[in-house]
């Protein structure tokens, strides 16, 4: 015996049958079904196994609160674990499997865990598995890990795509049930911009599940016409299949399931869209969740929430069973009994925990045997419910049934309001928590506000909609309220009578198998605060976040401690309301689009030339320009270095940060920001700068060009470009707003190339427009000019050298970059020019001992880097005071030196440590580390820059280079950091 499809009725399309499989078996359902309703209609009762004891489980609910009917949906890379069958729209070709069972759903060997239940009580693992210590990782934990977990992830990349989008409105209405529709209508008619989000594929909410009449028509029809009116208004947007799932300060997050009702998203459609919705006011009309009742073996397949039974009957045309009973502490059970009767099925018994029958249900009382002040004492059935034992008035009675509808009251869906941290308040009236205060403009309405009578819902929702509109200056006309038959299903809590013999079978949290005896144990062991109870027993941590569990457990703990429920406490719901796929939240920021790629003007050219690229922050920089003659990339770098040192090379330096500083106070500003005196740079010249952080450590160094008295250009290093600009902006805006100075970051606006080598002047001469001469006397090192090149292209030229050779940097608006690079190679051909990449540039700067990113790493000072002398002593600047702290000027600090291996072929690597020779390497003999290292083709030796304790005082000393993580170990000598042309004569020739 089991569920079946009624001959007619329901909001399904019987003309559109859909085929699907569950555990390999083929079934048919209809358009409009969920996976759960279609399986129930096919007589399937067993959907899954519980987490711990592997108890057989069916369907408890008809929505996102489902703890039991979890399946793996789809196959291959699209396989998704833990999908609630009750929330999956059926589509043709759907494939689902049961999970967390072995070897099969019907026969699950892991069910032996149930026999060990007395041992596997709450928190048992905290008390054992401790001996011997190493066995935890080796034995116990692997077993536990394999047993735990629900479904299986696909383990491979998700083939579907996702999008992110933004929306704005005056009033956001969450949920399109009677309350949401009424509130949206009122606000929209007043003229407010309204967004109405509905989780389901159709509007109506609870109206779809009940046989109500509104204005004389079946309620779903009223919902359709209300939606039609809304859809016709230009200021309304209705978003179906869209769940508002999290509230943040300033916005809501919503998930739109664009394609989940298809086997695969159609071309150019995302699977899901993640919305950020900014609303001035929000009406929370997300309904409520029914609570089950606590009684022994209350978890068998066939035992279902009363409202869910009705949803299956009325919306899907599915009866939960052939012989049904009802167990209720609310009027809801009576509604269900009435709908059963209308479907031609007479419940064998209605057990109400309350003392008197509700007056409005005289028709039910006449047709169904009623037991008042009754209780279900137990249930029977192997893989599904077959009988219940009922007590009333001292007698016990057994009923053979295959379905039991249970109702223990309703929890308003207040999660979104709780995300703001508002503490829920207990309502004695409905025995449930209501949203505490209206947080950040969120107003609950309808069942979410604890209002269950339809007439009342309409009146209050209309008032809420009008109030939200009015608060924004939209006057709402007095709403016309639909006429309805008044029904009400306020809840009450059924008492639980502790019984050690039975409590182990009263399931509170179905998915996690938390029972009443676990609550008793938690109480006994002192885990009495709600959070301790949750964490100790894992109550409410399952995939439905305790929607059906928390209140029952709370009530039990309140009873055990002799406190009221609000005294016992409440746990705050945490986002999201409905679990959110990580892919959806990430949206299209995936793969190559994770972070925008920054390419320089010659990216395509370099790529054609076969250059490999290196990631530098977001930039891609050409690393080498190999030619066929190069034996390997090391040879390429060596050749490129040699070209620059003997002839001329060109490289792309566009990634350097470029910050324009303009205004009458530009010099004053820079003098304060820099530790060097920028104002001393004359127009038409460049100067070296050092910037310190507030705390006195190095921030960056580089060059400043001054083109006019009120116009400087700061070249920050690639690595620090953003932080230097941010820092300068902060100084300008927050520290010295009174200065007449403006900043502009123009890094991407200019393509810039370094032309370096003894023959560079001739190449540059061939580029610049007449009559400018590029000679040692007319345009000596450190000159700067704005000029034109290549027949009128505006350009900036600086005679700067990073390589240690005579060199220039020429910049043009980025659009000219590729053309200029080609032109440089053309005119340079006569001089033997070759392009060089970042690797050769790095080698040359190490040869010159210039600090770069690995030396200026935020942990070093100007003193450490040997730059203390460059700092101006006679003015104030950022970092001056704190750089004088004693520990920052300790001679024993690790300070910059050069290192050369005693055997030039011994490879030095950055990251190796420098330790004393002659003693065992240890923390005590550790002197420092290598920050940069390279093979120097010029010196025919490996060389390195490094930081060594007291290093500059130990030039000439022999040390050991120790690199255990890469197996390196060799002897080296401490030398001065500049290996090549230490007096800097070459750029001047």
């Amino acid at each position: 015996m089991s569920g079946f499809r009624l001959a007619d009725g329901g909001l399904i399309d019987r003309s559109r049958p859909l085929k699907f499989t569950f555990d390999g078996k083929a079934y048919t359902g209809y358009a409009g079904d969920t996976l759960a309703s279609a399986l129930l209609a096919n007589g399937v009762r067993l959907f899954g196994r519980s987490f711990k004891y592997h108890r057989p489980r069916g369907v408890l609910s008809a929505g996102h609160e489902e703890p039991n009917a979890l399946v793996e949906l789809r196959e291959g890379a699209r396989r998704e674990p833990n999908v609630k069958a009750t929330a999956v729209e059926l589509y043709d070709g759907l494939v689902a499997r049961s999970q967390n069972r072995w070897p099969s759903l019907a026969f699950d060997a892991m069910a032996v865990n149930g026999l060990l239940k007395p041992i596997f009580s709450a928190g048992f693992y905290y008390k054992t598995f401790m001996w011997p210590a190493s066995f935890w990782e080796k034995l116990y934990e692997p077993v536990i890990r394999r047993a735990a977990g629900l479904g299986r992830a696909s383990g491979v990349e998700d083939p579907d795509t996702y999008e992110r989008s933004n929306a704005f409105c005056d009033v956001l209405v969450v949920g399109a049930g009677p309350a949401g529709l009424m509130a949206a209508l009122t606000a929209a008619r007043a003229g407010a911009d309204v967004i109405l989000c509905e989780d389901q594929p159709r509007v109506g909410g609870q109206l779809l599940s009940d046989r109500e009449f509104i204005d004389g028509r079946p309620a779903p029809e009223w919902a359709v016409s209300a939606a039609a009116e809304l859809a016709a208004l230009p200021n309304v947007r209705i978003m179906l299949r869209t769940t508002v799932t999290a509230a943040f300060d300033g916005c809501f997050a919503a998930l739109e399931r664009v394609s989940d009702h298809y086997p695969e998203p159609s071309a150019f459609q995302p699977r899901q869209r993640f919305w950020r919705i900014v609303a001035k006011r929000t009406i929370l009309a997300a309904g409520s969740t029914e609570r089950p009742l606590a009684f022994p073996d209350n978890d068998r397949p066939g035992i279902m929430l009363s409202s869910a039974v009705r949803t299956y009957l009325n919306r899907f045309g599915v009866a939960a069973g052939r012989v049904a009973a009802i167990y209720t502490s609310t009027d809801d059970g009576w509604l269900t009994a009435r709908d059963f009767l209308r479907a031609g099925l007479t419940p064998v018994v209605l057990v109400d925990t309350r003392a008197s029958a509700p007056a409005a249900f005289a028709d039910v009382a006449k047709a169904v045997p009623i037991m008042l002040e009754g209780a279900v004492l137990g249930t029977e059935g192997a893989k599904g419910l077959s009988a219940i034992i009922v007590a009333a008035g001292g007698a016990q009675k057994r009923f053979e049934v295959d379905a039991l509808a249970v109702s223990g009251g309703f929890n308003p869906a207040i999660q979104l309001a709780s995300h703001f941290g508002g503490k829920p308040s207990w309502s004695e009236n409905i025995s449930a928590f209501l949203a505490g205060g209206t947080a950040q403009g969120v107003e609950p309405a309808g069942a979410a506000a604890g209002v269950f009578g339809l007439a009342e819902i309409f009146a209050e929702a209309a008032a809420a909609g009008a109030a939200c509109a009015a608060a924004q200056g939209f006057a709402a006309p007095a709403p016309k309220l639909p006429t309805v038959a008044q029904t009400s299903t306020a809840g009450s809590l059924a008492a639980w009578r502790p019984n050690p013999a039975k409590d182990g079978k009263i399931f509170v949290d179905f998915q996690h198998d938390v029972t009443a005896s676990d609550v008793v144990l938690a109480h006994r062991e002192g885990y009495r605060s709600v959070e301790h109870l949750k964490r100790y027993t894992t109550l409410g941590m399952a995939t439905e976040q305790g929607r059906t569990a928390n209140i029952s457990a709370l009530a039990m703990m309140a009873q055990l401690t002799g406190r009221t429920i609000p005294e016992t406490g409440v746990t705050l719901a945490r986002p999201p309301v409905v679990p959110l796929a990580l892919g959806a939240v990430a949206g299209d920021h995936r793969r190559g689009a994770f972070r925008p790629v920054r390419e320089t003007a010659i990216h395509a050219l370099s790529s054609e030339a076969g250059a490999p690229f290196v990631d530098v922050g977001q930039w891609k920089r050409p690393q080498y320009f190999p030619i066929p003659e190069d034996a390997d990339l090391a040879a390429t770098a060596a050749r490129e270095v040699e070209t620059v040192r003997t002839r001329v090379g060109v490289t792309d330096v566009s990634t350097l940060g470029k910050i324009e500083v303009l205004g009458a106070d530009a010099g004053v500003f820079l003098d304060r920001v820099c530790a060097t005196r920028a104002s001393a740079i004359r127009p038409g010249r460049c100067g070296y700068f050092v910037m310190l952080r507030e705390d006195g450590f190095m921030m960056d160094d580089g060059m400043i060009a001054r083109f006019a008295p009120d116009h400087f250009l700061v070249y920050a290093s690639t690595a620090h470009a953003a932080s230097v600009y941010r820092h300068m902006l902060f100084c300008r805006q927050a520290l010295w707003p009174e200065l007449d100075v403006n900043l502009a970051a123009v890094t991407d606006g200019w393509a810039q190339f370094a032309i370096a080598g003894p023959r560079s002047p001739a190449v540059v001469q061939a580029l610049v427009d007449a009559p400018r001469a590029i000679t040692r006397t007319v345009f000596p090192p450190m000159s700067a000019a704005e000029l034109t090149i290549c027949d009128g292209v505006p350009a900036r030229l600086c005679a700067l050298s990073f390589s240690g050779e005579r060199a220039f940097e020429v910049a043009v608006p980025a659009g000219y970059g590729a053309a200029l690079f080609r032109r440089i190679l053309d005119v340079g051909a006569a001089y033997g020019i070759a392009p060089y990449g970042s690797e050769a540039m790095g080698v040359m700067r190490i040869e010159k001992g210039h600090p770069a990113g690995s030396e200026i790493n935020g942990q070093t000072t100007a003193y450490d880097l040997g730059l203390a002398r460059a700092l101006s002593k006679d003015k104030d600047h950022i970092g001056r005071v704190l750089s004088a702290r004693p520990a920052l000027n300790d001679r024993k600090r690790a300070r910059l030196v050069g290192l050369t291996p005693l055997d030039p072929n011994d490879r030095l690597r950055a990251g190796a440590h420098v330790v004393e020779t002659g003693v065992a390497p240890s923390a005590a003999s550790d002197l420092g580390w290598l920050s940069s290292a390279a093979w120097s083709p010029t010196l025919r030796s490996f060389i390195a820059l490094g930081f060594v304790s007291g290093g500059p005082d130990r030039l000439g000393d022999e040390v050991r280079i120790f690199d255990p993580v890469r197996g390196g170990d060799c002897a080296a000598r401490i030398v001065a950091p500049c290996f090549y042309d230490p007096n800097g004569e070459r750029p001047r020739v």
């Binding site: 041992i119 009580s121 943040f248």
Partner: protein
Amino acid sequence: MTFSGFQLLRNALNGGTGWTPHWRKAEPKPAYDVVIVGGGGHGLATAHYLAKDFGVNNVAVIEKGWIGSGNAGRNTTIIRSNYLLPGNIPFYELGMKLWEGLEQDLNYNAMVSQRGVLNLCHSDAQRDAFARRGNAMRLHGVDAELIDREAVRGMAPYLDFDNARFPIIGGLVQRRGGTARHDAVVWGYARAADKRGVDIIENCEATGLRSEGGKIVGVETTKGFVGANRVGLSVAGNSSRVAALADMRLPIETYALQAFVTESIKPLIDCVVTFGAGHFYISQSDKGSLVFGGDLDPFPSYAQRGSLHVFSDVAENAMAVMPMLGRLRILRSWGGVMDMSMDGSPIIDATPIEGLFFNGGWCYGGFKATPAAGFCFAHLIAKGEPHQAAAPFRLDRFATGRVIDEKGVGATPNLH
């Protein structure tokens, strides 16, 4: 009662009636030798070691809510000692050793799981920085391995090796690193401390720190005045607020950090993995949930919740390194408030008020420090002088310049 397999069996047979509260629900006595403010992991560990190793048993821990309600019960449970700087390595390694013997010490299974911590690197410069760190660890006798791309693939085949924006080139591994069950750490310390006579007083907030003539004499609480001439503050995210009760301003700012768990799935991710080209770290709990986190919310806040901006950013980072996560669902997210210090390193020190000691500034990394911080704080309180491993964590280091800045971002707390 001593927990054991035998006790478990015995109670299985008698319906669990033999179990007793893991710690007493104590009410404050008029005075103690030492009062610890803050019933997080650190406060409870401090009480445990005071009683066990330093012979100070007349101790109260006062907690404003339920124990573990702060960051101890909100963190992502990663434990490791893979630090770079000599000021840090010995301390975290002391912690690692204490973790390794914790269950036996506490007679409580805190599920210390040395599953390994794998830090991914994505550029030559980053690999070299990892080498520097790994070498520093080895010089301190701590395990570290630098592995290449293929070895990373062997450990974590599901990473994006093919289409990543920032290719994976290798990683730094500390095999002894891993995770521990955060709540169990709190409860285990509470139970062990309680057994040695420590009073754990919940729902008792410190509202004042009373001193006379520059010496501490006790704590005003919501349950009345509690006398003590040694008081230790261990209040993590509330450090600045509690220190203000004694008119102290700390070199600390407070920011929210979010954490996330997915629905429970069968074993997928074995070790702890951190992404090197963004900010993202992940592990899988014994229950099957993936536990992960990312960047701090960038603005100061005492609200224990995060912003959508960082929420999304964390998901982007996750997808950047593990695109197989796409269809897995975030079940819950939450925030904790972080006591971010000016150099990203903690403070365990005496204060200008005699008898008042401070432990804080743990940033997002104080869970792994729980045993070592407890031990060193107990040492400081009991002996009046710092334990050697915690000696660098001085309050005056910002004045002297002896800062311990692992990340090199300076006095910008939200960047550490």
